[in-house]
């Protein structure tokens, strides 16, 4: 179970607002334009397939939701064992590693140069904690907040948190190979315990038009569940990213990349489980 008191309290507020006849309406807000800022998403995984760096730029709010990649940048990955590699650009803004595979306890350094500006970051891969088990279960939702009485497909992830050390996790779900959701967790309230995490999808027969296409599963869909052990600053980054929209003063999450304003560099362990949805 994911315990997030903060968001529960916002939910209460939202319920109250609805009770007090709250309504929503699209409005025109005159927003300033801003300089296009470099956005870096770097990752080194113990599973080499996922060691890559994505470079893009921010744009004005009024623009479309397509973000062009930054081409012809210099992107270098190195580790503290003396290995180093300049990444090849395989598609616009996407730089992929062919040599470096992440290892536990090794620190990786990213160096990116765009238009003579250098961005650097280091991140150590934490000790790997493996999933004890993962189940897929089709059931009737009893969640008060949403999906009430809907048929849902839940993925239950179990792992044992090591006692007396700080651990940070990221859970990612893929549908037919495409990432559809992710969230982070810490062991603040679960230190040393056997922990359960739940990722929920909606069964196609219960889905209605308000549901996001990404959250609907039907027979034949392939779901991949990934558990990552991430570093503390990367946890902070994603935790801030998920709560920034409800905070009283929204801010950009603090990046761990020197010289950059937006983005992150994460070196992590990966473990995958695959499921085929059947009737």
């Amino acid at each position: 179970m994911m315990l997030n008191m903060k968001s529960n309290i916002y939910l209460i507020i939202i319920i109250l607002i609805v009770l007090f006849s709250g309504c929503t309406e699209e409005i025109e807000v005159n927003l300033n334009s801003s300089e296009a800022v470099v956005v870096i998403e770097g990752s080194v995984s113990t599973d080499s397939e996922y060691s890559e760096v994505l470079l893009s730029r921010s744009k004005d709010f009024s623009g479309t939701n397509t973000f062009d990649g930054i081409e012809n940048a210099y992107v270098q990955l190195s580790d503290d064992n003396g290995n180093s590699e300049v990444l090849d650009e395989t598609s616009s803004g996407q730089y992929v590693s062919s040599e470096i595979t992440g290892e536990q306890g090794v620190t990786y350094t990213l160096k990116v140069v765009v238009n003579d500006t250098t961005y650097t970051s280091s991140c150590e891969i934490p000790t790997m904690i493996r999933m004890d088990s993962v189940f897929m279960r089709k059931e009737i939702s009893d969640s008060f907040w949403d999906n009430d009485n809907d048929t849902v497909i839940n993925f239950y992830i179990y792992y044992t948190d090591p006692a007396d050390e700080d651990n940070y996790y990221q859970f990612v779900a893929y549908k037919n190979g495409e990432q559809v959701s992710s969230y982070v967790a810490s062991d603040l309230t679960t230190d040393g315990l056997s922990v359960e995490q739940t990722i929920t999808f909606i069964d196609v027969n219960s889905a209605d038009e308000d549901d996001d296409e990404d959250e609907i599963l039907e027979s034949g869909d392939m779901v991949t569940i990934e558990m990552r052990c991430i570093s503390a600053d990367v946890y902070e980054y994603f935790d801030d990213l998920s709560s920034s929209s409800t905070a009283s003063t929204p801010t950009n999450p603090e990046t761990n990349i020197e010289g950059a304003e937006l983005g992150y560099f994460s070196a992590y362990t990966s473990e995958f489980r695959q499921f085929r949805v059947t009737n």
């Binding site: 179970m1 315990l3 008191m5 529960n8 916002y10 209460i12 507020i13 109250l16 607002i17 009770l19 007090f20 006849s21 709250g22 309504c23 929503t24 309406e25 699209e26 409005i27 025109e28 807000v29 927003l31 334009s33 801003s34 296009a36 800022v37 956005v39 893009s56 730029r57 921010s58 744009k59 004005d60 709010f61 479309t64 939701n65 397509t66 973000f67 008060f144 009430d148 990432q179 603040l188 309230t189 679960t190 315990l193 056997s194 994603f238 935790d239 990213l241 709560s243 920034s244 929209s245 409800t246 905070a247 009283s248 003063t249 929204p250 801010t251 950009n252 603090e254 937006l262 992150y264």
Partner: protein, 778 residues
């Protein structure tokens, strides 16, 4: 230690300078003193005036317990006792010995035509030595239209200049650029930590139980301190000691009932007043179990008893119990509330010396309960205090009034504790904190001449944070050192002197000007992490890392009455400097965090403005027009490139118009219109993609404005029956009569209908809310 000695010396010099001015006169003088009360209910009257016809510039007002004392030379006098809404009494006295004069005033029933009666003291606004004070009698504003027909004194206060509602329909307020948590809210002297119900839509004050409300947005009396921006002093009714009365009301969302009567006629009385909402009772009507199994209500219970032991001793016991309960089936629960209790003893030592001793207790707690799947968790937080206060009022002469006293208070803060009753999760015990605050105060109101009055005051506040517990030192928001302190061991002390000054100069009966300066100190700070005030906000005390918040404020006012005091005009300007303000750093984690201090940033603030108010107080038509032009800014290192930026509560223009018209003996009509500039707020100035999703890019803190807010409310009250035994009335109101969709908040998101673009969406709450309520009294 050296520092303390220096301060004590300073206090002694100050005290002797106050006392110095008493030596000058040595005529044969006698004192008239006593208590002024309402003849029909026995309620003591606060702020009633006692003047002497023969000596025009001598006069006094009754204190919070209705006591007054006047010292004048031997002679024959006509003593005039008056209070607005009551028939004045003139009592002839031949003053050759000290005289006790307890007076009962008859309420004035023919309200419509009273213009001339007691006109003499209707220019109290001109002559009183107060600037930056709003006083409201709940009876005077009962016809003002309000949301859901729930009378709410705090909402009425927000219709006066310099006081802004924290959000739409909210029971919280921003006073002269201060935060909601910087208001000291006192109910019969007890601190009320959260003065709102249901996420702020209603205030905790049931107007049936309230006698008098005073908000000090400038300089508060020296006996009050502990918050930066204002003191809201709420006095509960004492209860009727003449006969039994029952009153009540049935409204759209709540009903209320109050019972009062004598314990012993003329000697003692009790009052019980309750209110409960019943929105959740409608939920029960639903056949859907998921809906009927929810709870959402609040209640208030005010109780008070008083007993006059003899002419010189009186005791009061008052209590408040309020609670909010919200429950979403058995899965989720939230309940919170305040409890306060005050035991007071009034003692008249002699005709010049009055004292009050109070024992005060206050507690605020909230609990979040989650019961989902195999988990059963609770998150509990408490703040409580016990206090002793001993105040004296020394009516030295007709020219000097000295207030002095001592106080001591123990606070205990239990920040969010996570308790796990069931489920694979660890209980998190966050350390409790013990705080002692104690000190003394003295102030003197000196009528220097018939035109000039000077009030000087000084308040000394000592703060001790004590063990047991682990206390942390921080550098760059990281813990560098941990020290354990045993029980009662002082971890950190702060000693603050708070000088206060009020000066008024009365040019003539219709014109005066006033000046005030005050310093305030706040050692209990509220950490808020969401866009609205929630019960889960966290209180934190000053410590090694958190210095006391400080403010210095000066204000200047010009007051003018015209047309025989029918119209009152006031214009005040103020400037407030604030230091050591707390702010959360970006992405701070406030839940169950033992090292919350590491999540804080510190800064300073400044607020300044002009407040204008034109009031028509008497006649069939009365009301007011209020305008405030103001600015509130903050500067926090690490925020907005260290530049000054507008605080959330910054609103340039704020206008309120309130009109009440008595059509005939049956119908009263009322209307209010409010307008204010939208709050400063942070909006995105761009967007980018991370993790396959659109994210918003923020470039500046509070760089944008919410849309301007305006709203018209209408009300009508029909007196159904009015006899000496039974009164009843029906009130109608329409909130937001022209249905403007004022933005409550604005959200940014990917358009659900078109994933290629992002949109802004506003949430708006109340458009055109009619209500009806029935009130009775017998």
């Amino acid at each position: 230690m050296k520092k303390k000695d220096g301060m004590i010396k300073y206090i002694l010099i100050f005290l002797s300078s106050i006392l110095f001015c008493y030596h000058s006169y040595a005529q044969e003088k006698y004192t008239i003193s006593g208590t002024i009360s309402d003849a029909s209910s026995g309620e003591t009257l606060i702020g009633a005036t006692a003047t002497i016809k023969e000596i025009p510039n001598i006069g006094t007002v009754t204190n919070a317990y209705g006591f007054y004392s006047l010292t004048v030379p031997k002679g024959n006098y006509s003593v005039v006792i008056s209070y607005i809404g009551y028939n004045s009494q003139v009592i002839k006295v031949s003053l050759v010995i000290d005289k006790r004069l307890d007076v009962k005033l008859q309420p004035d029933t023919k309200k419509i035509n009273e213009v001339v009666v007691a006109a003499k003291k209707k220019n109290d606004n001109i002559t009183s030595n107060r600037v930056g004070v709003e006083k409201i009698n709940p009876k005077d504003v009962e016809v003002v239209p309000v949301l859901f027909g729930e009378q709410d004194v705090i909402k009425t206060l927000t219709l006066t200049p310099g006081i802004k509602s924290t959000s739409e329909g909210s029971g919280g307020m921003f006073v002269r650029g201060g935060n909601n948590s910087q208001n000291l809210v006192l109910l019969d002297e007890a601190t009320v930590y959260n003065s709102s119900h249901m996420m702020g839509f209603f205030s905790t004050f049931n107007s049936d139980a309230i006698k008098d409300i005073t908000l000090y947005k400038g300089t508060a009396p020296a006996q009050y301190g502990g918050r930066l921006s204002s003191v809201l002093e709420v006095q509960m009714n004492d209860g009727n000691n003449q006969g039994y009365h029952i009153g009540g009301g049935i409204g759209l969302i709540s009903s209320k009932l109050n019972v009062q009567g004598p314990i012993v006629k003329d000697k003692g009385a009790f009052l019980v007043s309750g209110r409960r909402t019943y929105a959740d009772l409608f939920l029960k009507l639903s056949s859907d179990n998921d809906i009927s199994n929810n709870k959402l209500y609040f209640y208030d219970l005010n109780v008070k008893a008083n007993y006059r032991i003899n002419d010189n001793n009186r005791v009061f016991l008052s209590g408040y119990f309020g609670r909010d309960v919200l429950k979403a089936q058995d899965l989720f629960g939230l309940d919170w509330g305040n409890k306060t209790g005050t035991l007071r003893w009034n003692h008249i030592w002699n005709n010049k010396l009055f004292s009050n001793t109070s024992l005060i207790y206050s507690k605020y707690d909230y609990e979040v309960r989650i019961n989902v799947n195999d988990y059963d968790l609770s998150y509990l937080s408490v703040i409580q205090n016990a206090e002793v206060k001993h105040n004296f009022q020394w009516f030295v002469s007709g020219r000097d009034n000295v207030d002095f006293g001592v106080f001591g208070r123990k606070n205990k803060i239990t920040p969010g504790q996570l308790k796990v009753y069931n489920g694979a999760m660890n209980t998190l015990d966050i350390q409790k904190r013990d705080i002692f605050e104690y000190g003394a105060f003295v102030s003197n109101e000196w009528k220097a001449s018939s035109k000039l009055t000077v009030t000087t005051g000084l308040r000394l506040n000592c703060f001790d944070l004590v063990g047991p517990g682990n206390f942390y030192s921080y550098a760059n928001n990281e813990v560098t050192d941990t020290t354990y302190f045993g029980s009662g061991k002082v971890v950190q002390s702060y000693l603050n002197l708070q000088p206060r000054l009020n000066m008024s100069y009365v040019f003539n009966e219709n014109n005066s000007m006033k000046f005030s300066y005050t310093r305030n100190v706040q050692n209990l700070h509220l950490i808020q992490n969401s866009f609205t005030s929630t019960p889960t906000d966290i209180w934190i005390a000053s410590s090694k890392n958190i210095k006391p918040e400080l403010s210095d404020q000066i204000s200047y006012g010009y007051f003018k009455n015209f047309n025989q005091d029918k119209y009152q005009l006031s214009a005040e300007v103020y400037y407030k400097w604030m230091y050591n303000l707390l702010d959360l750093k970006d992405g701070a984690n406030t839940m169950a965090n033992d090292q919350l201090e590491g999540e804080l940033l510190f800064g300073k603030g400044r607020a300044y403005g002009l407040e204008v108010m034109l009031k028509k107080k008497y006649g069939r038509f009365n009301g007011w027009l209020s305008y405030c032009l103001s600015r509130t800014e903050k500067q926090v290192d690490g925020v907005n490139d260290d530049n000054w930026y507008p605080a959330r509560q910054d609103a340039t223009h704020d206008v309120s118009i309130v009109g009440m018209y008595k059509l005939n003996n049956k119908w009263s009509l009322s209307a209010t219109w409010v307008y204010y500039t939208g709050n400063a707020i942070t909006f995105p100035s761009g967007k980018y993609e991370v993790n396959g999703e659109v994210q918003f890019y923020y470039t500046e803190r509070n760089g944008y404005r919410m849309p301007d807010y305006h709203r018209l409310d209408l009300g009508a009250t029909c007196q159904l029956k009015k006899t000496s035994r039974f009164e009843s009335s029906l009130s109608f109101s329409i909130y937001n009569a022209y249905g403007r969709k004022n933005a409550y908040s604005i959200m940014f998101e990917v358009d659900p209908d078109d994933e290629s673009r992002t949109i802004a969406e506003k949430i708006y709450l109340f458009t055109f809310v009619p209500s009806i309520s029935y009130n009775f009294k017998f």
